[in-house]
Symmetry: C2
Subunit: 247 residues, 2 copies
DNA sequence: GGCACGGTTCGGGCCGCGCCGAAGAGTCCG
DNA sequence: CGGACTCTTCGGCGCGGCCCGAACCGTGCC
């Protein structure tokens, strides 16, 4: 009576992410960098032996990839598709029901809501603003699915991002990625990744702690000029008080 | 040291799919129809009480939606996004390692590989052929992300599928969906769903058992004429022998 | 060589989860 | 009303998972 595939394959795969420790590993790795096994163990608060076991399973399941160097075991997400998958699942998961307990945690949360990397592209308020600006500027078009326009190609070239090399990859040029703080789409795909990297190269943005991204004063000016982004909206998260409170 | 969100939210959500029975429910519901709790229980081979418990959790988790009618509890996927998520996870999951044991199962597998619904759009060999034909005909364009072209809009209108109503939905017009038998993309999104429904309305396709789809003789002619699909490639799965063996 | 360090392997304990059957609540029908 | 049916609730059982600490291996440094 069981027509076709039973759920064992899917269940086994989903089980990889169904453990808080393993899920925490994947979320940490969403910053796009390679972590050592020990770093991940400490970040998750488990013994090294526990982490080692989990990592072996995640690698075997195709979610993570490893690279051994000397006595270190470097771990990263297997490919951008995994990052997308994890982000989508995280976006659908009910909030961890853990309101920030400490001031430090609250300010970290604000910094992440302001701007962060989502694997290799920009997310948070900055990511959504960028996405919207690219649409109004005609770099992107949404009349029939999200697509990069001809003017978009030249605009990118002017910014120092040639599009042709990006076409060579198997990755879609542009793609929606649901932002879990803004609950609205931001730009992913090869172009999203290239833009994120280019902004860093140009010094418009710099990496903060963890996945956090900060916009430099020069970046604020440049984004206002090239994309018409309101510098006021790009103001960094209020250190105290003046910013709108967020539940 | 744990910057930002821990993995509990994600893990709890993934755990919903990490059980073979629950995963089987979701896979069965990928046919886009509403099943009763009892039907799902029988299909999965568990007691009604067990299924009831699982379904309650899946509904609470936002993966499924229920509708109570009299003494029946109708269950369907919560929204198309869930279908996409489940398909993506299933596509990445290693094959269930269950080569078909019976002749009946083998022929069912062949029928599904030939053509099936993927929630509400077409998948399988037919789905991939359709996707490719739409690209070569200029209905879709992939030069910068997957998009519906202007000629595509008129082509759809000629087929009796007005695009304007589709724009009203929050759903993307066109979207890639990775086919788990062909390992290549087919067309999803609002247009993919509309095309699938239109083909059924026109009598070009009919539903088989489960998620299987069959192409009628009239449908073969029509698809050849309007899209240039080779009728030979649309031949139904060989009942025995002559078809290419598939691992 | 000696030591510190990162990672892995192994054994054991514990908690949670999935399963069932039996009993009960609600619905439809004769 | 009484019977058939669907679904739910509740105990109880058993397996499998997650975790740790201790011992072990390999690397890099002094």
């Amino acid at each position: 009576m069981t027509t076709g595939a039973d759920g064992r394959g899917l269940a086994g795969f989903a089980a990889l992410l169904a453990d808080p420790t393993r899920a925490g590993f994947c979320l940490a790795l969403l910053d796009g960098r390679a972590w050592t096994a020990g770093e991940l163990a400490r970040a998750a608060g488990v013994a090294a032996s526990t982490a080692s076991d989990h990592l072996t399973r995640l690698v075997a399941g195709g979610l993570l990839a490893e690279e051994r160097q000397g006595r270190h075991r470097y771990i990263r997400l297997a490919d951008p598709g995994v990052a997308q998958l994890v982000e989508e699942l995280a976006a659908r998961a009910p909030t961890p029901a853990t309101p920030p307990r400490t001031l430090r945690a609250a300010s970290e949360g604000a910094a992440l809501a302001y701007a962060r990397t989502c694997y290799d592209h920009l997310a948070g308020r900055l990511g959504v603003l960028l996405h919207d600006a690219l649409l109004t500027r005609g770099v992107l078009d949404r009349s029939g699915g999200l697509a990069l326009t001809g003017t978009g190609v030249t605009w990118l070239a002017g910014l120092g991002v040639p599009v042709e090399p990006l076409r060579a990859t198997r990755r879609p040029l542009v793609r929606d990625c649901l932002d879990w703080t803004e609950r609205r789409p931001h730009l992913a795909g090869a172009v999203g990744a290239a833009l994120c990297g280019r902004f860093l190269d140009l010094g418009w943005t710099v990496r903060g702690t963890g996945r956090a991204i900060r916009v430099t004063p020069a970046g604020r000016d440049a984004l206002a000029e090239t994309l018409g982004l309101d510098p006021a909206l790009l103001a960094p998260p209020a250190s105290r008080g003046s910013g709108p409170a967020r539940a």
